[in-house]
Symmetry: C2
């Protein structure tokens, strides 16, 4: 059964792989699972047909027979639990790898999203000059802690896992900000993730959607 | 093997059950698993011994033999996957329930935390009168979408699950704010969670820690 995911018809990041379908594409490529993509306009994402799949009107979703999921973290975990290659088979190591998926999404990503959202909604406000650096500092605190834990290791806990995939994608949201520059090991970690053939295939696939949509 | 969790020695919420150990206590109570608690001061949480367990210097952690976890979402999922009572056994329903854990933590909770953080760090700033309502609106958007999905159902997707447990705990963060008031079905949903005997036992246990610490 070929899973079907949803993605932006015209990604707001212009094909930089920041939209959350990229996480799912990468996971599917890591495990060698072909997939189909249904593209959605911003308007269609908010309509009842899509809301029935995704109550919060976002992408990606994941449909596989009678299963439908709508959180990228849950989709990556589902793929990792049902195919070999993204989680250790031994129980303790497996739970620890899953722990890193949650760390990426619950602890590291929220201040990054908050900082991004402020840039969109507050950068013309008089207070942004003072508020922006407060938000940067919240991101830096998490990066410093993550950098200290990663140290000189290639991946967060042994072999590459769904936890690393998720964390690399979260850190990539900072690619255009310069905030990662103070943490050379995190920069190298992100580069290591991006160098994986499965990442490259997923990146090319989402870029192709943007290129086709923009007629370039 | 009795698991050991960590919790605040003196919870900043004064025993209202908002600290994240409450999620883990509740899950353990639902499945009938006894546990031990190691209490930590704010100072001890940031020291190397605890950082070895929790790279971000927070609570809770979960130790069970050689397994150590540090994200409340991962801990709740681990408990749910290794005991009966918090996840459906059928595969599709199980993945859908796990999806709601991620929805609670990745989609609903972040704007709630952001709003809370702003109250702590910005409420004395001149811009808070304009910024606060923007943050309220982000929370309301998610609550509206969640309320629409829940409708008149008791729980988000069939029987009570670890997804509901996590969502109820996330929504409880708004208990003192009045924001839930516009969504009677969400208020009833939270009350339904709080009425569960396992919630009550977990709540009493964390309150007892605060009461003992404060000498009241």
């Amino acid at each position: 059964m070929t899973p079907i995911i949803t993605a932006f018809e015209a990604s707001p990041d212009r094909g930089k792989g920041q939209a959350r379908d990229m996480r799912v594409r990468w996971a599917l490529e890591e495990v060698g699972q072909p997939y189909e993509v249904r593209l959605l306009s911003f308007k269609a994402m908010k309509e009842p047909a899509h809301r029935a799949l995704h109550p919060f009107g976002q992408i990606p979703t994941y449909e596989e027979g009678e299963l439908a999921l709508f959180e990228s973290g849950a989709i990556v975990l589902h793929i990792a639990q049902h195919h070999a290659g993204l989680l250790p088979t031994e129980a303790v190591a497996r739970s620890r790898a899953i722990n890193w998926i949650f760390a990426a999404l619950s602890t590291v990503e929220p201040p990054i999203i908050e900082r991004e959202a402020a840039w969109f909604t507050e950068r013309d406000k008089p207070w942004y000059a003072e508020h922006g650096p407060m938000l940067d500092e919240r991101v830096r605190r998490r990066l410093g802690e993550l950098s200290a834990r990663l140290g000189e290791h290639d991946w967060l806990d042994g072999a590459f896992s769904a936890g690393d995939l998720t964390m690399v994608m979260v850190l990539r949201r900072l690619s255009s900000t310069g905030l990662l520059g103070a943490y050379p090991n995190l920069l190298a970690y992100v580069a290591r993730g991006e160098a994986r053939p499965a990442f490259q295939r997923a990146f090319a696939a989402q870029l192709a959607v943007f290129t086709a949509a923009s007629g370039t």
